[in-house]
Symmetry: C2
Subunit: 762 residues, 2 copies
């Protein structure tokens, strides 16, 4: 599984794009793939290294001040730059932009967990060398970023000099014209100590406003077998290391550059911690680091096993997506998954509902421990969510922020941000999914239920009864092209699920004897649970008799229909070309909304309503959001619209590798990557996690010979293999389970096989 591009292009668009596509990350740190030697001036680049959950505060002035509007946001700072390595062959400096690039190639090895850049270069004066640069961020040593830099002189002798820098003075990328990127250059990181200890350099910086500290420790050393001298000098905000060795034709000179990152969110003394870690990581042979990485990934790929037969390119794209998921996801409760992972600065490193609705399903099925960690992050920020609810006027309950790093709301424009109350239901949904998939009652008792209760409370304080029905007014659904609406279908059905499961968890905890301490802690009574149930039972879900669909909200259908085919291509995404107020007056969707509800809460409606709705919304959805196509694919699969399912799946699979949204330079679209997984497993595979168990309804795209995947379910592991003839379900480990295939219950002892003629089709 190697993603590779050869004949590297050196144009502006390709370079900055490849910085994203070949970034190294391990869920704790992420380093964009900048050339170690730099670019000539004028070439756009976003140079950065990031830490999951690390943040600075930034003032965010409101144009007009209103009570409760957010005026300070968090941002993910670029923490330090340790990528720099300039190389001199004698007196000639290596650059891709001088001399002659005879061969060049970049590789992402997803089994071994590294990226590689190989260049065959001829200098202006004719020196030829092979340069191979291997980089990794270790999954087993989360603080470690390693560069292995190898130069082999092919036709000359003399000297090779590396000038390797460690720079604390860094800034974030900004672009005043793109709402999806920070508008201004703000200094977030202020280096305040530079030290050399045992030949290692340490840069300690503090954040400008959030009072956090980050330390980077760097060691440069030659591989055994290379003889040379290494000297480092300190500068005001960093260090520079000169490593020189003799050049002998045919003999490789190899430099290792270790960087350790440590931050004060996770460590009491991050400077000491960085010192200890760099000592640990440099003491063992490099090969051990590579081996650990391989082993970690072997286990990962086993858990996340997914194979498509008959379309190798697509298969590689899917694996690329799955690799980004493990690169991006936090491994502790201090971080989460930023909208761009750790690959770039788009959306400023914020965490959204993307986590719960697009990414967590993958981990719940393949690695439930990671799901648990993600829920722990929400638990750790529950108190902030309670404060947020108070700020919004609610006397009880918690309201999770629409976008955040450390738990406080960062939405500058609340109608398309804070007003998306559905995030509360999304988080509750993810906890229920984790519970259904694991039956981990003790975690629910300890952390999960409290979130579900507190989010349920918020619905009670948000909605109200009117003529017998429970309404939820003035919220925004997933589709941001219509804001502050009444009875958004997705929100209401999501709130109903939240309220329903609050009761279920209450009863489960009650019967398991775990209820009392939690009920006391948050003052929860049986009467309150009864009110939850009553609201859930009487939840108003808009339905239009004439069209036989669920309207997106109360007034959606009374609006003008946007003519998407008649809209010039350069007017997309619409949000970049139309005033929000204008968009709000149309039936036009940035992304899946009601159709998402029909996937996630499919039992709320008949298949006819789901079909009618799909066909209705398909015509008015622009998919300007990357969270859209994958869900359309899933519902198309469910409805038997095979061509559409495959088309939407393809749109989703290629989004970043083909840069179809033209902003992958700012980072990968990690929610789409999780959604892309869902389009296979939930879409083609028809998987659903329901209260009673796990469901499948396999279909096979005509373009494929077959596909297989493994899932975890309640302690067991199941292999699903689908081809033209049959779908086979094999119990790989764990106790036997009953599973549902096309709504029929089967006992899975060893293997169940069904003929594909019987495959689900409506």
């Amino acid at each position: 599984m190697i993603y590779e591009i050869t004949d590297l292009k050196l144009d502006n668009a390709s370079l900055i794009l490849n910085e994203t596509l070949f970034h190294n990350a391990n869920g704790y740190i992420g380093v964009r793939s900048n050339f170690e030697e730099g670019y000539p001036g004028g070439i756009p680049s976003i140079q950065g290294a990031y830490i999951n959950g690390f943040y600075d505060f930034v003032e965010m002035k409101q144009a007009e001040k209103l009570y409760g509007l957010v005026e300070e946001k968090q941002t993910m700072p670029n923490v330090a730059d340790t990528q720099g390595i300039r190389v001199f062959l004698g007196d000639e400096e290596f650059s891709m932009f001088t001399g002659t690039v005879l061969e060049s190639k970049r590789t992402l090895n997803m089994e071994e967990g590294y990226t590689l850049r190989r260049v065959l270069w001829r200098s202006p004066n004719g020196k030829e060398a092979e340069i191979i640069i291997k980089r990794l961020t270790s999954f087993t040593r989360l603080s470690l970023f390693l560069i292995e830099y190898a130069v082999t002189p092919l036709n000359f002798d003399g000297s090779i000099l590396f000038i390797s820098t460690h720079q604390g003075e860094v800034t974030n990328h900004s672009n005043p014209d793109d709402p999806r990127v920070a508008a201004e250059t703000v200094k977030h990181i202020i280096p305040f100590r530079v030290e050399l200890r045992d030949g290692r350099s340490f840069v300690v910086s503090r954040t400008a406003r959030s009072g956090l500290t980050v330390c980077t420790a760097v060691e440069n050393r030659f591989a055994s077998g290379t003889e040379g001298t290494v000297t480092t000098e300190t500068l005001e905000t960093g260090t520079v290391t000169r490593a020189s060795a003799a050049a002998v034709r045919g003999r490789t000179v190899k430099l290792y550059k270790y960087t350790v990152f440590s931050d004060s969110i996770r460590q009491n003394n991050c400077e000491n911690h960085a010192g200890e870690d760099i000592e640990k990581h440099t003491r063992i042979p490099v090969e051990d680091i590579y081996r650990e990485q391989r082993e970690y990934l072997r286990e990962y790929w086993d858990g996340a096993f997914l194979e498509i037969r008959g379309d190798e390119k697509l298969s590689l794209a899917v694996h690329y997506n799955l690799y980004q998921l493990i690169q991006s996801v936090t491994k502790d409760g201090y971080g989460n998954i930023a909208a761009k992972g750790l690959s770039g600065e788009g959306y400023e490193g914020h965490f959204f509902w993307d986590t719960e609705m697009y990414i967590q399903p993958f981990f719940t099925l393949t690695n439930p421990e990671i799901s648990k960690t993600l829920i722990e992050y929400r638990f750790n920020t529950l108190e902030e969510a309670r404060k947020n609810a108070r700020m919004l006027g609610h006397s009880r309950g918690a309201l999770y922020p629409w976008r955040t790093i450390m738990g406080k709301e960062c939405s500058g424009y609340f109608p398309a941000g804070t007003a998306q109350y559905h995030i509360n239901g999304d988080i509750a949904y993810s906890i229920v999914a984790y519970y259904i998939s694991t039956r981990d009652i003790s975690f629910i008792a300890e952390k999960g239920a409290e979130i579900v209760f507190e989010t349920a409370r918020l619905w009670m304080d948000t909605g109200n009864y009117y003529r017998g029905k429970f309404l939820i007014n003035d919220v925004t659904g997933p589709d941001e092209y219509t804001c502050i609406v009444n009875n958004n279908y997705y929100t209401n059905v999501c709130a109903r699920y939240n309220l329903y499961w609050a009761r279920v968890f209450y009863e489960i905890l009650e019967s398991s004897g775990a209820l009392a301490p939690l009920a006391e802690k948050i003052g929860l009574s049986a009467g309150e649970i009864k009110a939850f149930s009553h609201a859930a039972e009487n939840m108003y879900l808009p339905y239009d008799e004439e069209l036989g669909i669920n309207p997106q909200d109360d007034s959606f259908l009374s609006k003008k229909v946007w003519d998407i085919p008649a809209t010039p291509k350069d007017k997309f995404p619409l949000l970049m070309h139309y005033h929000p107020l204008y968009l709000y007056r149309f039936q036009v969707c940035k992304q899946v909304d009601t159709v998402l509800a029909h996937f996630v809460f499919e039992d709320a409606q008949s298949i006819e309503t789901i079909r009618n709705s799909f066909l209705y919304y398909e015509k008015i959805t622009t998919h300007d959001s990357s969270l859209s196509a994958c869900i359309f694919s899933i519902i198309a699969s469910k409805l038997g619209f095979r061509d559409k399912a495959y088309m939407y799946f393809g749109d989703s699979a290629k989004l970043d590798l083909f840069d179809t949204h033209r902003n992958t330079k700012d980072g990968i679209h990690i929610a789409n990557m999780g959604g892309n997984y869902m389009a296979i497993v939930y879409g083609f595979g028809g998987l659903r996690l329901k209260e009673k168990g796990i469901h499948f309804a396999p279909t096979l795209p005509e373009q494929w010979e077959g596909y297989s995947f493994k899932v975890h379910f309640r302690g067991s592991r199941i292999l699903v293999e689908v081809d033209r003839e049959s779908a086979r379900f094999t119990l790989l480990s764990g106790e036997e389970k009953s599973i549902y295939i096309n709504s029929v219950e089967y006992d899975l002892h060893d293997q169940v096989s069904i003929k594909m003629e019987a495959a689900h089709e409506v």
Copy 2:
């Protein structure tokens, strides 16, 4: 008509409040009433002099950037400070805060048009003097601000020294915690030339961003009869004048300080113009200036004649309000009426719908030429309104900005700003009212109709048909506690009026032969007019059968009802204590909305609906806006709720003089002052301007003996006198008119009198 306060308080709250209450303005310039000698440090003060329609641009960053959001606003700069006069009695400096204030009094003389401060002061060393300071801004010489400063030594001889300053280095007031005031201190005025010519000082400044120039010219001179020396020196950004005279007990020393303001919006060379004007104003005797002022006001008060018998205090308050109206209103098409007049910096000098719906009705009835000037301002900014409509996505029509000085939108928070599309209908309404009142067809042909057509067009592009009705979705009505709603009743009925009158004006112009050039200019066809009519005829007006009221918008009644009596007093105004999203979820109104529609467009509903609605909305209206109580008073009058009518009228009358909204320090509430007039003439008097003519339905508050007022109607002037016995309508001048009294038509030759038993009561 003298408004006076004695025993001037020197506390923080009173001083800054009196700066507003005693400001001098003439519709072109306004000068706050700061003490010439200044306050000691630490006393809050807003020192300023303003020019109507003069503006600087200010960056207004949006917290989250979205297409079309306004990122630059205009603000009314403080242009220069020429108020400063320090006085030395021998070596002792006069101050209200040292020595002993034996007597003190401030007076606003509304017949003579000046303010007066009289102080009897004893210095720390026992010198006693009477100080009388008279200030005016001339209605006949708009550029002139005059201070007459008289000192009479009572028990000492020696010397008197005036140190009089002319300062170009000024800033605006700011308060980061109040959304109704600018949040930041920005330097708007940059003095670039200071000159002395013929003993007069000139300061020329440019605005920081808008490229405008302002010049102030000052002359200090002793009155004839006072001998002394006057010398002026220039400083970097201003001048200082020392005027000294001998002090002889009992003999008054009098200094005149003339200031002339000139700006580059109105003058090609404002420095020359200031020079000419100061020459003109100083050449004539001061007494002539005072006489002109008296004569101007005599005519004004005759036109705006309004008398309440039986409540002198209230009568004075009403006259105070009417005086502020003439002080605030522009006399040319470059300015308008800022929300705070020219008395302070609240709302940054912006013009709102306040003009058309609250202030212009007064001028239409008493001084139609001023109404015409106000419409001319809108005509002059029509091109900006067209651009604004394009920015909002509309391909045709014009959308007036919610708040502006020079015509560009200044709303930072569009849901409660730009989304108030009703401003288009409000402007159209004011033009119709002017037309009904004057039959000035040539002005309609020249300017008025174009506005009405262009605003009508916008409704066509905003609304859409759904199931046969014309809907207007996603706009905000007058009540800002519910934003971005569908089918706001006020907006829809207002749009209907706009569309209807577009057809009427089309037909009038067609039959008068004036249509062709305008129709050609803006590409208007008979087909388009037909579409206007069709939309007007099918305009959807929400009505609730069960309650028998017009809901404020489609979903208003489905929301929770806010419990106003249960809300602590310190939580008002609600906007300062609750997040907008929270407010939006309640039935709670900042101000009159549907009830306003029932006043302005009363024929759209039955009296039962109007009564039911009044009683319904009364319970949920906080009157957090100063635009509310006056309209409730009018409808209460209409419905015969006499106590309520009087109570709301009283609330409105006392708003500024009693500082009931606790922010009069930032400026008077000029819309309420116009509304207060309406509460008498439209409310108690039952006046309405309708297509067919002028209507009256007089009622008399129990607390009064009677009231009288004069109105202009189609070239005639009518005196209305109401007392307990009868209501008399006298034709003062002009042709005979038919008038409607309690819906009965009368021919008004000379006088019509009706018994008050017949007074309108429902």
